[in-house]
Amino acid sequence: MQPSTVTAATDPTIKTPLLRVENVVKHFPTGGAFGRAVVHAVDDVSLAIAQGETLGLVGESGCGKSTLGRLIVQLQPVTSGHVFFKDTDLTKLRGEKLRRIRQQVQMIFQDPYASLNPRMTVGDIVSEPLRNFRIARGRKAEQRVQEVMRVVGLNPGFVNRYPHEFSGGQRQRIGIARALVLNPTFMVADEPVSALDVSIQAQIVNLMEDLQQQFNLTYLFIAHELAVVRHISDRIAVMYLGKIVEIGPSDAIRDKPLHPYTKVLESSVPVPDPDLEAERKPILLKGEIPSPVNPPPACRFHTRCPIAQKICSEVEPPLEMKERGRFVACHFPGQL
């Protein structure tokens, strides 16, 4: 195998990819002084997700991680690039064909308050996909809804209640039930626990792990909290300003981050242990995150990178496989 042809989308350690993202770009036009400004939300992203695994996607606010999630499930059209689900390019599908494949690709949202229609009962919310896809109606739909509610740990007797009658954690279960009702194979979870109380987060994380086992689900788990992402994910992708800077197995990334930004993120997370905290030295970044309207040339991290050299502002480092299954976009990997 020639190293030059291996990309994160054709990672040789992934035997049966369920999803392949190839060179996906998303630009949003904004007003700007001359009406030409473009937000480079996602820029040339490639990755693969294996059947049955969880890929965690981390990054700070504005890095493009949520946009990438929405591009993958086709909630927004890509500017360019491809999203292959099994062997179908989702970006080429329209109308009924896209609808069909959407049954297998579902999404869970961050805010369980805003993502459920307050005027629909739980039963209506969870059964809506069944009606939309004309899969089941009436008695059969009712049975399926009750079954799914039981699976996610909701009392099936509550089908006629409204979202406001539930707590945040229970509402997130409703969102999961709605995503699960069509028996999908792939789920994008966008910050599914960030809005929940600490004692509730573990319930939802455990539920998602159980469901994955039970239904052989594949997850893209998007979050800003590295500790949660490391816990639930088999592999992690790190994003900075619209680019993936590193992908690899989660424990390897935690133990030996290769990209300086990953190292900075890892060093910034406090651990609930006063002795370890006394030892931990966070690497503090200089300056502020640059605007995605006008990202720095070459390596986008070079303006804040503690080990940047001249080449980093001149030549963009490609996302390359440096070790088996580990991809890094950096001229000096592992040197911070």
Binding site: E60, S61, V198, V205, E209, P270, E277, L284, G287, I289
Partner: protein, 319 residues
């Protein structure tokens, strides 16, 4: 601290006692509705109407609850600073950042107008705003979230308070920014020898910053003690479960998280007995009917529990 409501009096904070020394950081942790923010507001007598506070809040030798309007104004402005979670909504969007800091100083008359003006840039430099000389003329929207939080801290510190209350100061911020604010708070508490009360839901933040911890649940203190004791040897099942429910960066492999079943109770409809018992996996009969007192369980460590974790064998195995 109680509120009259349509379903009777609700005690948002019930019988909390603690002290903070100069140079010390005390953490108050709890989930939403645990009473941690109400505790902070009580300290400043800022509890919204029709809330009522009873008890004593001593600042040095003066009882905050007995102060006249003039005294409380002086106390809030010159002795205490409060930093809130959301730095965007706590600043005036149409006034320049520097002017707002200057105004905060001038309002409390500790410094003259000229002195206040001269102190603004050094204050911004102290909280490490880059190019403070120029940025002092910016409006809040021109600052990033982290810079706004720094500016808020500068404003709070401008009158050299001896007590700093920080309510979820990093919750709205990105991790790398959060790290820099934690470092800043740590340095400032040492430099200024101020007493700091950190209110947060994040146990890891407490481990990082605090000397002592108060764990609140349903308006009560369920455990308090030194940070070391609370993290190494938690005695209340709630504290223990909270620590076990958090995914940790340093964990090996994929241990299943301990989850706490159910949800925090409604303060208007608290259960009998121990307020945590419906969610507790270690409860005994007595917990259902009698509320345990907050009792000493180790040197300087108090817990409100009939069982205590030291009496539970293999806690992970119990469901």
């Amino acid at each position: 601290m109680q509120f009259p409501t349509s379903s009777g009096l609700v005690r948002a904070v019930d019988g909390i006692s603690f002290d903070v020394d100069r140079g010390e950081v005390v953490g108050v942790v709890g989930e939403s509705g645990s009473g941690k923010t109400m505790t902070a507001l009580s300290l400043l007598r800022l509890v919204p109407e029709p809330g009522k506070i009873t008890g004593r809040i001593l600042f040095g030798d003066n009882d905050v609850l007995e102060m006249t309007d003039e005294e409380i104004r002086e106390f809030r402005g010159n002795q205490v600073a409060m930093i809130f979670q959301d730095p965007m909504t706590s600043m005036n969007p149409v006034l320049r950042v520097g002017f707002q800091i200057e105004e905060a100083m001038a309002a409390h008359k500790r410094f003259s107008g000229q002195q206040s003006r001269d102190r603004v840039v050094p204050m911004l430099q102290r909280v490490r705003i880059p190019a403070a000389q120029e940025r002092v003329r910016d409006f809040p929207h021109q600052f990033s979230g982290g810079m706004r939080q720094r500016a808020m801290i500068a404003m709070g510190l401008s009158n050299e308070p001896s007590l700093l209350i920080a309510d979820e100061p990093t919750t709205a911020l990105d991790v790398t920014v959060q790290a820099s604010i934690i470092e800043l708070l740590r340095d400032l508490s040492r430099e200024l020898r101020a007493a700091v009360i950190l209110i947060t839901h994040n146990m890891a933040l407490v481990a990082s910053l605090c000397n002592r911890v108060i764990v609140m649940y349903a308006g009560r203190v369920v455990e308090q003690g030194s940070t070391r004791a609370i993290f190494k040897n938690p005695q209340h099942p709630y504290t223990w479960s909270l620590l076990k429910s958090m995914p940790r960066m340093d964990e090996v492999g994929k241990e299943r998280l301990v989850s706490i079943k159910g949800v925090p109770p409604d303060l208007g409809k608290l259960p009998d007995g121990c307020k945590f018992h419906p969610r507790c996996r270690f409860k005994v009969d007595r917990c259902l009917t009698e509320e345990p007192p907050l009792e000493e369980v180790g040197p300087g460590q108090l817990a409100r529990c009939w069982v205590l974790m030291k009496n539970v064998a293999n806690p992970e195995m119990q469901r």
